[in-house]
């Protein structure tokens, strides 16, 4: 082939290659599934709620997440639905029972973020971890600073007060109480309380009613009933059958919707302030009935 022709062909080839449409790198839009209610609230606080495409059966706050597809309960998310919805990240609660399933989902290319929110410190750490995963570390730092400031304010105000004996009930029949290791125990202690279940061996444990009566709690925070229509507020309820209890005598029995206290996440500071109002109302001001009620039903304003 003549040299000039080779040169022309080479030039055409170079131009053709240069003009050829290049394959674009795949655009990965992060799509989240959330099993843990606390993780859902954290994602919303960090401003990435719009990335949530599916939720677990027990996630219902923020309210706008209720209409999203459901993917199952706690330790058993539906893998088919996760793949169908092209979920990239699954935020769930750490548990031994779910480990095998989490590994399987990892094999399907879904990043499983298992969070331990069973303790006070674990809750704060979970917020940081979620923020790292979603690329919002500075938002998380600001959130944690605000939370810690409010929690510290509660602790400082209550530290010189005489400690009141507090019972936090999270279940009836049998009575389950919050014990050492739970976020509720940490909150009630920093709010100036002394846990009557201080010698429980688990964060949430069945406690004998005999023992409860014997320890004469001065404040009872009953967060055991989240059935629709349950009245929450101040009142003796079933504790009224023990009128000699200081908490009943002094009218310090509060029925608090579990949503207010049992979802340890960004509302930890709200919980600390609520504990302060319930344990030392003379110091923090009394809690209003709406402070004890369940989660809002109406859509809240966009963040």
């Amino acid at each position: 082939m003549p040299r000039a022709l080779r040169a022309r062909l080479l030039g055409v080839l170079v131009v053709a290659v240069g003009c050829a449409p290049k394959a674009l790198p795949p655009v990965v839009t992060e799509r989240y599934a959330v099993m843990a209610p606390a993780a859902a609230e954290t994602l919303a606080e960090l401003g990435v709620a719009d990335r949530i495409v599916a939720v677990g059966d027990f996630v219902d706050y923020p309210v706008r997440l209720r209409s999203l597809p459901k993917i199952g309960a706690y330790d058993s998310p539906n893998a088919e639905r996760l793949v169908e919805l092209r979920v990239t990240h699954l935020f769930t609660t750490a548990s031994e029972a779910g480990r095998g399933e989490h590994a399987r989902l990892g094999g399907l290319g879904i990043r499983v973020v298992a969070l331990d929110t069973s303790t006070f410190d674990g809750t704060l750490a979970a917020i940081s971890r979620i923020a790292e995963e979603v690329g919002r570390p500075s938002e998380a730092r600001q959130l944690l600073e605000r939370m810690n400031a409010r929690i510290e304010a509660v602790r400082r105000r209550a530290e010189d007060r005489p400690r009141r004996r507090v019972l936090v009930a999270v279940g009836h029949d049998p009575i389950f109480v919050a014990g050492p290791g739970s976020h509720l125990d940490a909150l009630l202690r920093l709010a100036g309380g002394e846990n009557v279940a201080h010698d429980a061996v688990a964060p949430y444990q069945l406690m004998s009613l005999e023992m409860i009566l014997d320890r004469a709690p001065e404040v009872i925070i009953d967060s055991a009933d989240n059935r629709p229509g349950t009245a929450h507020g101040f009142g003796d309820g079933s504790w009224g059958q023990w009128p000699f209890l200081p908490a009943v005598r002094e009218r310090r029995v509060a029925h608090v919707d579990p949503w207010r206290l049992l979802v340890p996440g960004p509302r930890l500071a709200d919980m600390a302030e609520l504990m302060g109002r319930l344990i030392h109302p003379e110091l923090f001001g009394p809690a209003a009935p709406e402070d004890l009620a369940g989660l809002p039903v109406a859509e809240e304003p966009a963040r």
Partner: protein, 349 residues
């Protein structure tokens, strides 16, 4: 000889009176222990003899401990008597109150009530209704040509239990964490601090059923030799089977409805008593009520105190106590039977 042993004249007359007196004393002692000890320290005897109790101590003793101890006694008696009845009906020493399916229906009724958000008496009532529905269904299925066939009864009961268990597992799989916890603790068995009405029902029904079964004690003795043998002795076997099934099931239904599944009482207590007192049901039935009552009172005492301030489910305690004890009994029975077989083999040789 059947698995329940030969019916002889062991322990008649004065021997029976002493045995029953001993069991009554054991029950009184168990109740006294049960009321004296618990998670909270209450100086029961000192105050009873010397002074009064504080308001808290009075509430603990009279509103919590005493009703619970009396409930445990009544329920233990019911379960043991039901065990004797079913072992006689089925002529099988492995029969217990839960083998014929009524407990499955009761458990399912209780679980449904828990998930429906019922509390107070709602759960036991629903459990009892579930038990009655199972009882009627099982009896109808197992009755053919006017005859209640033991083999069919056993199979039907096993199927009902399996079906109820499957439904319960399904309900557990869709329950929330809080509901799941309530279901698990209900099924593990727990003696309530029963109200006066509940105590009256437990003891009233318990005594009535024991007396009604006692009225058939001689017929149970005859049934040991088989249905044909009993018929030849003038026993209306079909009527006896139906009556025993219904009464035993009612006892089981009441126990499960009130306290969940408490195992081994109806299995171990009749066995121990049969080895001590012999197989005569005229003694075995009242003895079972008394011994079962004592056993469950003491088991509940252990459940209330061993892990205080928490409580163990009493069904766990009865299984932990009864299981190994039963294995030891079986081993000794097996050794005795083996020795007997060797002797018989030697004689034949």
């Amino acid at each position: 000889m059947t698995a329940t042993g030969p019916v002889g004249a062991r322990n008649t007359g004065r021997g029976w009176r002493w045995s029953l007196a001993l069991l009554v004393a054991a029950l009184v002692g168990s109740i006294a222990l049960g009321v004296s000890f618990g998670a909270a320290e209450v100086p029961f005897w000192q105050r009873l003899l010397g002074g009064g109790w504080s308001e808290v101590q009075q509430a603990i003793l009279l509103a919590l401990r005493l009703p619970r101890v009396l409930a445990a006694a009544g329920l233990g008696g019911l379960l043991a008597v039901a065990g004797v009845a079913f072992q006689a009906l089925l002529r099988n020493p492995l029969a217990d109150p839960y083998v014929l399916g009524v407990s499955g229906g009761a458990s399912l009724g209780g679980v449904v009530a828990l998930l429906a958000g019922l509390s107070g008496l709602g759960v036991p009532i629903a459990a009892f209704v579930g038990a009655l529905a199972s009882l009627v269904a099982i009896q109808r299925i197992a009755t053919s040509g006017g005859r209640l066939t033991v083999f069919t009864l056993l199979l039907t009961g096993a199927i009902f239990n399996a079906f109820s268990a499957a439904l319960i597992y399904f309900l557990q799989s869709v329950a929330s964490r809080e509901e799941l916890s309530a279901i698990v603790f209900y099924l593990m068995g727990r003696i309530p601090s029963a109200s006066v009405a509940t105590l009256a029902a437990i003891w009233g029904v318990g005594c009535a059923i024991t007396l009604a079964l006692f009225a058939s004690a001689r017929e149970f003795n005859a049934l040991v030799s088989g249905e044909e043998g009993a018929q030849q002795l003038g026993v209306d076997v079909e009527r006896l089977k139906r009556r025993t099934f219904v009464l035993g099931s009612l006892a089981t239904a009441l126990a499960v409805a009130t306290a969940g599944l408490i195992g081994f009482v109806g299995l171990v207590v009749p066995h121990v008593l049969r080895r001590w007192l012999g197989p005569d049901h005229r003694l075995l039935l009242p003895a079972a009520f008394l011994a079962g009552a004592s056993f469950l009172v003491l088991a509940d005492l252990a459940a209330r105190t061993l892990a205080a301030p928490t409580e163990l489910p009493v069904g766990v305690v009865t299984a932990l106590l009864g299981g190994p004890f039963f294995l030891v009994l079986l081993r000794r029975s097996g050794a005795a039977i083996g020795a007997g077989e060797e002797r018989d083999g030697g004689r034949r040789a």
